[in-house]
Symmetry: C2
Subunit: 336 residues, 2 copies
């Protein structure tokens, strides 16, 4: 039926040029006479020729592949990040190899990426062992941890200023006149959680206040709901809770309003972190801290592309600023 796979040699034959001329015709900066090129292009179109990207990658050493490893997609933060990365990388001529990480499988997946000769790796909310990070660095593959950092690895990182974000929330809640301020933690191993929590406590301490209670929600919806139930199970209840991310905050609000019959923010204020799209939905109107995703992406892209360009991996750590968005889920400070 069809001739099965057309190669550059076929095109060369038809255009009556050498095979390398065909290669040049498809290489942006190469020196080919305009007429030669158009003759070749025409033949190529006629035959339905498509350069084999794999062969090109092999010989040129440039696969134009970037791997992305993502832990989960149910928190809307990540789909948004994936979409933006994909679009921008595509625009830059790169292609995305996507991996979903199963806990414990991350190193194996990174090996896979390297087998495919990716030119860079983006790890979104996933970390890697330092031995693997070493290996990437030695191979010359830049790795950037997105929204996580690990001090002891050679991998670069891009994070928000979670420390500052946490203190912003503390400030806001204290100024709002709250007296029993609780915290629902995310994944305790995650740097995001550690920093948000540390910043929060520090901010509280600056006002001479100690956190009223603390439970762990593990960044998951169901587990956060459970955490909220625990938090509100006592006789006297918190009047404000800072939840380590928006995704959990929705679950927490559901429990507070539907199961406990309390009002938000009249009875209890809720503040999240991330500012995912749903936070602006009227059903929640979540007051939260904005992670400036576009800025984070930009920082990641520039680290990655710069290192790919210069063939030199060196650790960099970008920290992007944050700001609070005040909506309706937490009492708003009246004074000043």
């Amino acid at each position: 039926m069809s001739k099965k796979v057309v190669t550059s040699a076929d095109v060369a034959r038809m255009a009556e040029v050498s095979q390398s001329a065909v290669s040049r015709a498809f290489t942006p900066g190469a020196s080919v006479a305009p007429e030669t090129r158009s003759k070749i292009i025409e033949a190529a179109n006629q035959l339905g020729y498509r350069p084999n990207a794999l062969a090109r990658a092999m010989i040129s050493g440039r696969s134009k592949l970037i791997a992305m490893l993502v832990a989960y997609m149910d928190n809307q933060f990540y789909p948004y990040v994936v979409e933006l990365f994909s679009r921008q990388l595509q625009e830059q001529g790169y292609n995305v190899l996507l991996f979903m990480s199963d806990p414990g499988q991350q190193d194996r997946l990174v090996q896979k990426m390297m087998q495919y000769q990716v030119e860079g790796i983006i790890m979104a909310s996933a970390t890697l062992s330092s031995s693997i990070a070493r290996e990437c660095a030695d191979t010359g593959i830049p790795v950037v941890l997105f929204n996580r950092y690990v001090p002891s690895t050679p991998a670069s990182s891009v994070t928000s200023d979670n420390l500052h974000g946490g203190s912003l929330v503390a400030d806001f809640l204290v100024r709002g006149g709250h007296e029993r301020i609780a915290f629902i933690a995310g994944d305790e191993d995650a740097s995001t959680n550690r920093d948000r929590e540390a910043g929060f406590y520090k901010g509280l301490a600056a006002h001479g206040i100690t956190p009223w209670d603390r439970v762990v929600g593990g960044y998951g919806f169901e587990r956060a709901a459970q955490a909220a139930r625990t938090l509100f199970s006592g006789e006297v209840k918190p009047d404000a809770v800072f939840v380590a991310n928006d995704h959990m905050a929705f679950a927490v609000m559901d429990v507070i309003r539907e199961e406990l019959g309390l009002r938000v923010p009249e009875d209890v204020s809720v503040v999240g972190f991330d500012d995912v799209p749903e936070a602006a939905w009227k059903g929640y109107q979540l007051t939260t801290v904005t992670q400036r995703i576009p800025d984070m992406i930009e920082a990641t892209m520039s680290i990655l592309l710069e290192q790919i360009e210069h063939q030199a991996v060196k650790k960099r750590a970008a920290v992007v600023g944050v700001n609070m968005v005040v909506r309706g889920s937490a009492r708003i400070p009246s004074s000043q």
Copy 2:
């Protein structure tokens, strides 16, 4: 510093075997003596050898790459789909090349996929020109349209029974005693919208009822909000609205409750389609039609893998059943 890229020849030298022996040691079914293999594996580990997947793909003709094209990620339906596909594909030994489609760029992206010698293509809520579909078929690359179909192309498709879903909603709303039933359409070019709408009208007609009004929301959040404003701008307002997907339904509910001050479902019933995770959130409790994503994925995988296996592309169209989930956003029929 490090020896830069280790090849099978290096391993062969160290293990004192031929280079082809190394290849065999890394090929599952190949005939190698156990001792030879272990000798090779040891040398490989020592040197940090990783088979080059690109070279393997070139010679074997099996890239183990599957391309996925997605139009957008803001509707939670898609992140979920992407995650599930990725995990299952990974489990089957395949790797995912992810593309976000810009409208109009789809054909170009499919060309890219083919250049990377992908073994199959999944198009999620995106369609392709029939010429490109032809090309894929001729090249022997199976394509499956996920959640869309195009009768005139050779591409396979997997969809929900949108027709039936629409009629289910009509039935539910009529039995609920509604009298002014409106429809907010999604993307009018999409088969999903056409079928949901057709099924809905047919279901209405079966009860001798005609739709009260119809506006277009284009499957987008903001546009749907606008559509809702239009729909409710008249003197007399609808008492029920079927929104072509959940994502728009949230926007519609926001407008109805917050801007218009109407109650859901007391003043107006809202029904969506998809059953994304947020539909179960207490802030919305959206009554909707469930797309059985796991079943849809399974159907897609089996079409794809079967055709890759047998090297034969033939068009198949799977239709997956749907069912309604009754939550709180629409009045519940009392009788029977």
